[in-house]
């Protein structure tokens, strides 16, 4: 070992190579930036940047392609899992993931999501749940909590007439086709570490051809919640996590077709 190498400081943290060197457009306190970074880190760690194809859903996450340095397809609202199915069937040896919000995935795209999961498509679905339609201006989403005021539930969501917030992770975990289902959050450093582990696990299981993998990421939307970033993170802890409990809901140890 040369003296030069010995003296060189070991790099322990840096910008992921798959994350373009541009500033995010996201609002202060929004967690999309965190999730983008975790996705880029996972891609780097598996060394799959050149064989990964992302499918961007409609919503604030659509600009995925401005930040992550991979091939990206933009899907119509809700259809990302159908697009990902098409991409994955053509390139079965590639890593294919979708990046979708709650309006996209749990409302208009719920059929595409459930059936892609049920077919056990070898894709990873990253579901950013912030309980509102963010990009369109904070309307009520399928995951909006009871009592939560949004621009289209100005008196607070009521189960009579507006129904209950949908628990996507729990629903998908019941399907035979899903290999990995987890719910994570971005409100504390500890939760961010767990979120990173779950995203990595989902990619790893896809690479290992284990089946459909799904990570629901509870995320803050301070702008549409009318809160500052700190209060928004507190809301995730005090209101979202009790209704949407964190953890790994399902993890196969053998592939579903074995």
């Amino acid at each position: 070992m040369t003296t030069e190498a010995k003296d060189k400081p070991k790099k322990v943290y840096g910008r992921p190579e798959s994350l373009k060197d541009v500033g995010f457009h996201f609002c202060p306190g929004c967690n999309h930036g965190n999730v983008h970074k975790m996705v880029a880190e996972a891609i780097d760690e598996f060394g799959v940047r050149e064989k990964t194809i992302g499918v961007a859903g409609v919503g604030c996450g659509v600009f995925l392609y401005n930040y992550i340095d991979i091939d990206v397809l933009e899907a119509p609202h809700g259809r990302a899992c159908a697009e990902a199915t098409g991409v994955s069937r053509v390139h079965p040896d590639h890593v294919v993931f979708t990046y979708q919000g709650d309006g996209d995935l749990a409302a208009i795209g719920i059929a595409e999501t459930i059936h892609a999961a049920n077919r056990g498509e070898h894709i990873t679905v990253l579901f950013v749940n912030n309980t509102v339609y963010g990009m369109t201006g904070g309307q009520m989403a399928p995951t909006t909590l009871l009592g939560q005021k949004t621009t289209t539930s100005p008196y607070g969501r009521e189960f009579m007439g507006e129904g209950y917030p949908i628990k996507m992770a729990e629903m998908l975990a019941t399907l035979e086709g899903t290999a990995f289902v987890a719910r994570v959050a971005c409100n504390t450093p500890k939760n961010i570490m767990a979120a990173k582990r779950a995203i990595k696990k989902a990619f790893k299981m896809q690479i290992d051809k284990m089946g459909f993998t799904f990570v629901e990421i509870l995320s803050a939307c301070p702008t549409n919640w009318g809160m500052d970033a700190v209060t928004a993170n507190k809301r995730v802890e005090e209101e979202m996590i009790p209704y949407f409990p964190l953890g790994i809901l399902k993890e196969r140890t053998t592939a579903d077709y074995l």
Binding site: R49, E50, D69, A82, G86
Partner: protein, 347 residues
């Protein structure tokens, strides 16, 4: 001997299509049934999706990934697919849609009709775009025009529709198709824009969202230029017995077959009648209709609807031409006798 619907499916295999995504609807089920049996034999993928919406979006994904891909459907299913068709046009992606019409509006009925001419030739979904649309009139053309649809769709990076009806889908005729070529022997264009993973090149993006100031206007003009090129280079039609004709009939698809019988009867009585048959209904053969109508200024348009293509004929003909219309909507068929009677009325 082959059924029309199967000729479409076989045409797709001959064109190098190895991916099909669809959803059952009458009267086009022979296409998915045939492909579910035949595609696995050639290493292809057949997937019955959860809906027409999902299947057109799977087609979009497979197309963006660089594959030749097809879906098929009928009226209500095509209405649902219009979202994806608009996105295909917006994202400049190829893809072939086989359309075996049923009567509408609504659930309608399953008999033969040409009531979807307007939907198919006007774009169909939201936005300033068109789909390439080919209208076969025989089982042989169901095969050959499906192959052409794949070529044109790739050439223009735009969705292409093959428009047929229950008559064409169900009838059996002799066809010449030859041996199935091996995939590597099929001539297909390179797709450097396809999403294959950014190996050894910059990352690529397939999208239809253009939010920048003025970007969308540039994109719309780009599409317009493509459609102008399409009109110039790939307009298809057939002219029969027009040389000496005093009356020109314009008719397409299965209807034109019945018109031919009517023309034969008219000719036997000494009436000089000919046919101009649009094969591409988008682009419509405007120039051919205009030129023919300079010499023959009596025109009779016959369709199995209440009058859709007749509007394209009216804007295309020479100003002096006199355009008449005879239509049978809702599954009604113009018999050769009906057609002869119409010919005599306007001759």
């Amino acid at each position: 001997m082959m059924k029309g619907a199967e000729a479409i499916a076989e045409g797709a295999i001959h064109a190098g299509c190895r991916f099909y995504f669809g959803y059952p609807i009458t009267p086009q089920n022979d296409i998915p049934e045939y492909l579910s049996r035949e595609l696995p034999k050639v290493g292809g993928t057949f997937l019955q999706a959860e809906s027409e919406v999902a299947s057109i979006n799977m087609l979009l994904g497979a197309s963006a990934a660089g594959a030749r891909v097809m879906t098929s459907s009928s009226g209500p299913g095509i209405s649902l697919k219009q979202e994806g068709i608009s996105y295909l046009a917006g994202s400049e992606l190829p893809g072939v849609i086989a359309y075996v019409s049923r009567i509408g509006p609504g659930l309608g009925g399953i008999a033969a009709t040409q009531g979807d001419y307007k939907q198919v030739t006007a774009g169909g979904g939201h936005g300033d775009y068109y789909t390439i649309a080919l209208a076969p009139s025989s089982v042989q053309e169901m095969f050959s025009l499906t192959k052409l649809a794949f070529d044109l769709s790739d050439k223009y990076r735009n969705p292409a529709i093959v428009l047929a009806d229950a008559i064409l889908g169900q009838m059996k005729e002799p066809v010449e198709i030859g041996e199935r070529p091996a995939l590597e022997d099929i001539e297909m264009p390179e797709k450097p824009w396809a999403l294959t993973g950014a190996e050894g090149r910059d990352a690529q993006l397939v999208k239809s969202l253009f939010l920048g100031d003025g970007e969308m206007e540039v994109q719309n003009w780009k599409l317009y230029d493509k459609y102008e090129k399409l009109k110039k280079e790939d307009t298809y039609y057939e002219e029969l017995q027009l040389e000496d004709a005093r009356l020109m009939i314009v008719s397409f698809g299965s209807c034109s077959r019945m018109v031919l019988s009517g023309i034969e009867m008219a000719r036997a009585e000494g009436l000089k009648v000919g046919l101009l048959r649009p094969i591409s209904i988008y682009p419509f053969p405007e120039e051919a209709v205009r030129k023919a109508s300079e010499a023959i200024n009596k025109v009779l348009v016959i369709e199995m609807n209440t009058g859709q293509m007749v509007k394209d004929v009216k804007v295309s003909v020479d100003r002096a031409a006199d355009v008449h219309f005879y239509g049978r909507p809702g599954g009604g068929l113009p018999t050769p006798d009906d057609i002869l009677a119409e010919i005599k009325k306007v001759y």
